[in-house]
Amino acid sequence: MTTQLVRPLPTAPRRFALVPTAALLLGALYCLLPVAWVLVASTKSGSELFSTFTFLPGTGFADNVSELSAYRDGVYWKWMVNSAFYAGAGALLSTAVSAISGYALAVYRFRGKESIFNILLAGVLMPPVILAVPQYLLLAKADLTDSYLSVLLPVILSPYGVYLARIYAAAAVPGDVIEAGRMDGGSEWRIFRTIALPMMLPGLVTVFLFQFVAIWNNFLLPYIMLGDDEKFPVTLGLYTLLQQGSTTPALYTLVITGALLAIVPLIALFLVIQRFWSLDLLSGAVKS
């Protein structure tokens, strides 16, 4: 017993960093708060929403979901499917274009390479509205506005995606491997498809995810392009629902339930794949 008292006791604060942990927990609380609120609020019936304490769960979750599903013959679910289509197809095409452009810009030496790259990159800096207004007018001339294509086509080329793909191709595809492929008589396309593409795959997952989130979160482009609410993505759909809600507060419960359901797939996707993100790509990009 006495030896224990003599030995210097490991003091509690040294065992783990209390203050940093507490500060980060506060930050986490701040970030989770609105999500927690929307989770609780979606369980409330219309009358409970305005009368009970906001963090007290209500009794109306099932009713809210079925009411939301019934709203205008299930238009909400159509919005979700549309969002999945815009983000899924858009991100896939965008990743494909980024991959091949990034690869070309990383491994070949050719005239105009840096100018092409810089011009593409300047696209990142263009405010979406300077593009979206004339894009709308031009697509109107082609009779393409208010169509799925009008929301899909403009997002396929992502300057940021090309930039990331170039950095990733430069880092992941060694020049001698391409040279060896040429020695074996492979065509340039075949070398890209069978040798380089698999090597670039982890980086391309990141490009895909960035694009998926960016397109799912897109609001301005569909807001400008679409008139028919059957083609709306869920962000635009919720916005119109909220707008109507300001005159019909009964719709508020639908908006809240809709917001919760709209973030569930994104959070699920985020949790499943966050381990695959190679975010070092970003800081690696800064250093080069």
Partner: protein, 308 residues
């Protein structure tokens, strides 16, 4: 040179151009052409002859710089720019300050719950701006907000969060909430890339955690800070989704609150695409000037540091 090698050399030469066809075509169609068209429109206006009825009564004519002088003297656009300035003056320092702080905290030793807190703070990145604005909008609404409920129970005065000065804080909070985690991850990732021996050496020299953070870590992640700053400025200048979403909840948010909202209003509500085009061009030029000016300033500063 045999025919086969010649063909192959030709293949290698033309391959990058072929590979860049999709990107170039999309760029021309959806970037270059719209920008050119916007520029063209910004120098045009419609002239109405007679009563403006019937076909041919409205003709498009050259307007010179009229749309630009009008836009630059438009008080609504100027006020929008000033509002964005005020909004950005809150968002950018608070968001990047928090992102840097959280990244440094994540990088401390003997931390608990590192994975959980990192993920939780990054999570808002996955949530659309519209949905974020919607969720916070309800939290700002006195009838449903837990904050108001608590203030009420405590008998404290209840501030109007969606009016006047607090409106800026309310909007800034949404941007800070949505962007801190992403920037934190960018900074944290580059902190992880610093070799551990540097810290070991500093500790042996008697540096405290604070000194290490201040003198070693922050200077070494300066490039990421530049990048996050750059992206934050661009995002701030283009703010549209959040104020547009909050608009139905308050009367204090005009439909021309931010410059982009004004462009939208003129293009699609007032049907004056020429004025809208000129404004869009002005915003684009301002954005490019600010971003390049910032990058240049950041670059020359880093160079100065190198010479020391």
């Amino acid at each position: 040179m045999t025919r086969a090698t010649r063909r192959k050399a030709y293949g290698v030469k033309s391959a990058p151009y072929v590979f860049l066809v999709p990107a170039t075509a999309l760029f021309l169609l959806f970037f270059a052409l719209p920008i050119g068209y916007a520029l063209y429109l910004s120098f045009r206006r419609t002239e109405v002859s007679g009563l403006g009825l019937g076909k041919g009564a409205r003709t498009e004519i050259w307007a010179g710089l009229a749309n630009y002088t009008e836009a630059l003297s438009d008080s609504e656009l100027l006020h929008g720019a000033l509002r964005i300035l005020g909004y950005g003056a809150i968002v950018v320092p608070v968001m990047l300050g928090l992102a840097l702080l959280f990244a440094l905290l994540l990088d401390t030793e003997r931390l608990r719950l590192r994975g959980f807190t990192r993920l939780a703070i990054f999570l808002p990145y996955a949530i659309p701006g519209v949905v974020a604005a919607l969720m916070w909008g309800f939290l700002y609404l006195p009838d449903v907000s837990p904050f108001y409920f608590l203030l009420d129970k405590a008998g404290l005065p209840q501030p109007g969060l969606l009016d006047g000065g607090p409106l800026y804080l309310a909007l800034a909070n949404i941007a800070v909430w949505g962007g801190t985690g992403f920037n934190m991850i960018v900074i944290y990732t580059s902190l992880r890339a610093i070799p551990a021996e540097i810290f070991e050496a500093a500790r042996l020299d008697g540096c405290s955690q604070w000194q290490i953070a201040l003198r070693i870590k922050i200077p070494m992640v300066a490039p990421s800070l530049v990048l996050t700053f750059f992206f934050s400025i661009i995002a701030t200048l283009q703010v549209f989704n959040e104020p547009t979403t909050l608009k139905p909840l308050t009367n204090s948010l005009s439909s021309t609150w931010s410059p982009l909202m004004k462009v939208y209003q003129d293009a699609f509500v007032n049907n004056d695409i020429y004025a809208a085009a000129a404004q869009a061009v002005i915003i684009a030029v301002a954005t490019l000037t600010l971003s390049f000016g910032f990058l240049k300033a950041a670059n020359s500063r880093t160079k100065q540091g190198d010479h020391q």
